[in-house]
């Protein structure tokens, strides 16, 4: 997740004036956009696989159906019985990739929700109160943004110990400043709008104006950012697991951990790197495609 991406999302956010109609319009255009549909299809596949993993996978991810076949020099690749081949311990690679979708989706969604909740809270406080509150929050956010994301995630995950939860928290923390900044900028822009003045002129309380008027009009870019963040969260989760900061339990199928474990067998069993790697790329691609198209659909500048 880079600053440039945040800026780009902010660009997408100049939607304010026509929010309601724009959102409906965006939805209509998304449904006709082949790229968005591909992205949506990938996401649907990913989510369905994650939900129905026990029914799709032929084996339990911890079972070793190939225990007698696999030797350190002979790790069989894809076959009719084992579609993605066997791993170094004789486990079914296909089943592990399928169950890995569960882990990735869980980590991605929880990290996103935590990060978004924290970011939105800070953003609302800064955007609603302005003044000193705004200054303090935004300086903290600036400091957080100045630390490279993955570096900070590694530090946090290392600090909290090896577990999936610490991976989630680490990814959430690096996304907090991004959402905070995005929402705060949106709210500041909306605060000067005519409908806020009109509502103020009718005596509507500030709390109602912020929560009922300013916030709903500031959410479009946040939705786009959330979609894109899911993609990066999946990659970051795999990255942290690859570095050995994920779950210490080797039975838990996790794409990044699977990649890390295959390093020694890269020459003899490339399929062990190929399938989890492709799974990570495709899952991230789905969210990126949908997110990019969503951004264009919500941006009046791209209107055709």
């Amino acid at each position: 997740m880079s600053l440039a991406q945040v800026e780009a999302t902010t660009e997408a956010a100049k939607v304010g004036e026509e929010g309601g109609s724009l959102r409906r319009d965006a939805w209509r255009r998304l449904r006709r956009d082949p790229v968005a549909l591909v992205g949506f299809g990938i996401i649907a596949l990913f989510v369905l696989v994650a939900i129905f993993a026990p029914w799709i996978a032929p084996y339990d991810p911890a079972d070793r159906p190939g225990a007698g076949i696999v030797t350190p020099t002979n790790i069989p690749g894809p076959s009719a019985e084992f579609w993605f081949g066997l791993d170094e311990l004789g486990r079914d690679e296909f089943s592990r990739v399928v169950f890995g979708a569960r882990t990735s989706l869980l980590v991605g969604v929880v990290a996103l929700l935590l990060g978004m909740a924290g970011g939105l809270l800070l953003g609302i406080l800064a955007g609603a109160f302005g003044g000193k509150v705004d200054t303090v929050i935004m300086r903290v956010v600036d400091v957080m943004l100045s630390i490279p994301g993955l570096l900070m995630a590694i530090a946090i995950a290392a600090l909290l110990g090896r577990s999936l939860l610490s991976v989630m928290i680490a990814i959430a923390v690096i996304n907090i400043p991004i959402f905070a900044r995005l929402l705060r900028g949106q709210m500041l822009a909306q605060r000067g709008s005519d409908y806020v003045l009109a509502a103020t002129s009718l005596g509507v309380r500030r709390r109602s104006i912020v929560l009922g008027h300013v916030l709903p009009n500031s959410m479009s870019p946040v939705i786009v950012q959330a979609t894109l963040t899911l993609a990066t969260a999946i990659i970051e989760a795999a990255g942290l697991s690859f570095l050995g900061l994920g779950s210490p339990d080797p039975r838990v199928p996790e794409w990044g951990l699977m990649l890390a474990n295959t390093q020694r067998y890269l020459a003899s069993a490339p399929h062990l790197a190929f399938f989890p790697g492709v799974a990570i790329v495709i899952a991230a691609l789905g969210f990126t495609l949908l997110g990019e198209r969503l951004r264009e659909a919500l941006d009046p500048k791209y209107r055709r």
């Binding site: 026509e18 309601g20 724009l22 959102r23 005519d194 009718l202 008027h213 009009n217």
Partner: protein, 336 residues
């Protein structure tokens, strides 16, 4: 310089209102300078002037809607016995929307695009009359019906973009009048609408004000609006009132050269073909225009010596107030 009124009970009594925008390292910009006027219940008052004359800032100051930072407001704004400028913010919020309401220029941007009309109307009713649920919905439907929105029950669920410009302005007027305020300030409510809709909206405002007995302050640059609607008129130039009079007197006998220029510049359908239009030459300057004489002097056809030496005072004579050293002379009047 403020006009001494008898201690009559005016609904709105603005005395010596001044608004200055301050910026560090720059000279203050005095957007409004010593403006005084009164409005009584049932009366319609017009505030006329070109862009930058301070009419909108005057209305925002009365409503207490100017930002706190970088703005200095002086004078008094008496409404029903309270000085609005010194009221605590919470009391001012109670007054806004309940006793004084405002309709803005652009109905496109003054409604929240992502919130249905019904919620925006009920929000006001909930805020000031504590109406909820069905009671609020019924009252909101009534408000929309009162401003002539057809099929109001269905409209409640619709979003602003589903309404035409005229309907949106009606919805905004419905919101402003939902709690039956005693004073309505309309800031160029018809500028963003096309001509036929303009006439409808003005007619509607006239009717609503007459029926409810509320007072109306109409802010406009359109003399046609004033002619059709207002009882009294205040002409503003460069942040000050330059002429105040009843509507008839003002249109029949403009005394200030600026008022005269405004009237002469209105294009006439009955003018001969090819007759030139009559603009007021030049454009308003905004840097402390009144510090060295009359702000209108550079553009004034009647300019005389003292105009550029000291600013003229607002003097009251014959039911009219005038700020000019060398006013226009009525046709049948013999020059003194």
């Amino acid at each position: 310089m403020s006009v001494t009124e008898p201690a009559a009970d005016h609904l709105l009594d603005v005395r010596g209102l001044s608004v200055a925008f301050t910026r560090k390292g720059r000279r203050d910009v005095r957007a409004v300078d010593g403006v005084s006027f009164t409005v009584d219940a049932g009366q319609t008052m017009g505030l006329v002037g070109e862009s930058g004359s301070g009419k909108s800032v005057t209305s925002l100051a009365v409503m207490g809607l100017l930002p706190k930072r970088g703005v200095r407001v002086g004078g008094e704004v008496h409404f029903d016995g309270d000085d609005l400028l010194t009221l605590p913010p919470e009391r001012m919020r109670d007054i806004r929307g309940r006793d004084i309401a405002m309709v803005f220029q652009d109905p496109m941007s003054s409604l929240n695009p992502v919130v249905p009309i019904g919620i925006q109307v009920t929000e006001v009713l909930h805020r000031h009359q504590d109406l909820r649920g069905d009671a609020a919905r019924t009252a909101a439907t009534e408000s929309l019906a009162r401003v002539g929105i057809p099929d109001p029950t269905r409209r409640l669920k619709e979003y602003p973009h589903q309404l035409s410009g005229g309907m949106r302005q009606r919805a905004l007027i419905a919101m402003a009048l939902a709690c039956r305020p005693r004073l309505l300030i309309a800031d160029e409510p018809t500028t963003a609408l096309d001509v036929t809709i303009q006439a409808q909206i003005l007619e509607l405002l006239k009717e609503l004000v007459r029926d409810s007995g509320a007072a109306l302050v109409m802010i406009t640059h359109d003399l046609g609006v004033i002619a059709g609607l207002c009882d009294t008129v205040h002409v503003m130039y460069g942040g000050r009132v330059v002429e105040s009079a009843g509507r008839r007197e003002l249109f029949a006998e403009p005394r200030h050269p600026y008022t005269g220029g405004l009237l002469a510049s209105v294009p006439r359908l009955d003018a001969p073909r090819g007759a030139p239009l009559h603009p007021i030459p030049g454009s308003p300057t905004d840097l402390l225009p009144w510090s060295e004489g009359c702000a209108f002097a550079p553009r004034c056809p009647n300019r005389v010596e003292p105009c550029t030496e000291s600013p003229p005072a607002l003097e009251s004579a014959g039911g009219r107030e005038l700020r000019c050293y060398n006013p226009l002379v009525a046709a049948e009047e013999v020059p003194a």
